[in-house]
Symmetry: C2
Subunit: 199 residues, 2 copies
């Protein structure tokens, strides 16, 4: 016999629907909510509804924002000649953490994946092409994941954009900083050799 | 520069306050909420508030319930002569999953831990003693964790209860089922030897 407390089971199953959260973790999290003051649950609930209601896609770069145009697109100090093209909104944050990139972004919201019936029309490629129309953009950095689908998407966009005289680049492949060669797979090592730099 | 979307940061920090959820996982979970239909966030929020509002402690055994007396205490088919004493509400569910125990439970809501300034008065020991008054209970099974605090709590309660002529037992120590002897620590192995059974 499992527990038969309906509101508890409902909360557990809500936690369980989150990515990477299994049954046991979901139970642990639900019990944690019950053990804390009611204000905690209310604040959490408010944050969930608020985030989902107030956040939408930036009408320029398609990243998440709570304003009409996101902070990055609206920032006058950023280099408007380079656009880094990523698959998901969270990838923007990953690049921002590096503090090395001062250009703009464009979020595709997915990658071309015929197996999941995602074609170019399901991605925000039209919106990207519209941004290139002004002639201000000189370079697109294709920063999709180094997977088959990520590569296919990068080369699809590259074929569309190159005739417009815009430079298209791809993130470098190589061994991750701080990793151990012993654990690098052969494809990564081969690409690291191929892309070696003089020191 | 990290993101400066206030509602998103608020949601991330709410996830981050859950036990075992770090910054990166919290971000992943928050983005997952944004990627799904608004109804998902609303259902989740409702489940949080509902669970916290409707669930309270059973007035008999102190486990979580949404009724005055929990389903286990109210169940006429259960053996009212045995009480399994556990530290946390979630331990009740762990025993229920075994389907091997048909008695009642009592939840202490903690263990005696002088370092965290938790003494016997902070636990639901008074409520346990009140249940023993009727003379119906014949055995207490002390099922606190096999830690120093768990042991101390078990022996504290045992000293209180034994003079009342109630049998007090403790969970068996030994090697976990399906485990490998190679990984058992010496204390567990010593206890497993000590508690060996004829076959």
């Amino acid at each position: 016999m499992a527990n038969n407390i309906v509101p508890l089971n409902e909360l557990i199953s809500q936690f369980e629907r989150l990515p990477g959260i299994g049954r046991k973790t979901a139970q642990r999290l639900a019990y944690n909510i019950l053990e804390q003051p009611p204000e905690r649950a209310e604040k959490f609930a408010e944050a969930l509804v608020n985030a989902r209601r107030k956040i939408h896609f930036c009408k320029v770069c398609q990243a998440f924002t709570d304003t009409e145009v996101c902070g990055i697109c609206a920032d006058e100090t950023r280099d408007k000649t380079v656009i880094c093209v990523v698959a998901e909104p969270k990838d923007v944050m990953a690049f921002e953490r590096t503090r090395e990139f001062n250009g703009l972004y464009h979020v595709l919201h997915g990658v071309i994946s015929p197996l999941d019936s995602v074609g170019p029309d399901q991605l925000r490629i039209k919106e990207l092409m519209a941004r290139l129309g002004s002639g201000e953009v000189k370079e697109l950095i294709m920063a999709t994941n180094p997977t088959v689908e990520g590569e296919a998407t990068a080369s699809y966009i590259s074929r569309l954009v190159k005739p417009m005289g815009i430079k298209v680049s791809r993130l470098a492949y190589g061994i991750p900083v701080g990793s151990d060669l012993e654990y690098a797979d052969e494809f990564t090592l081969a690409r690291a050799l191929e892309g070696r730099n003089e020191i």
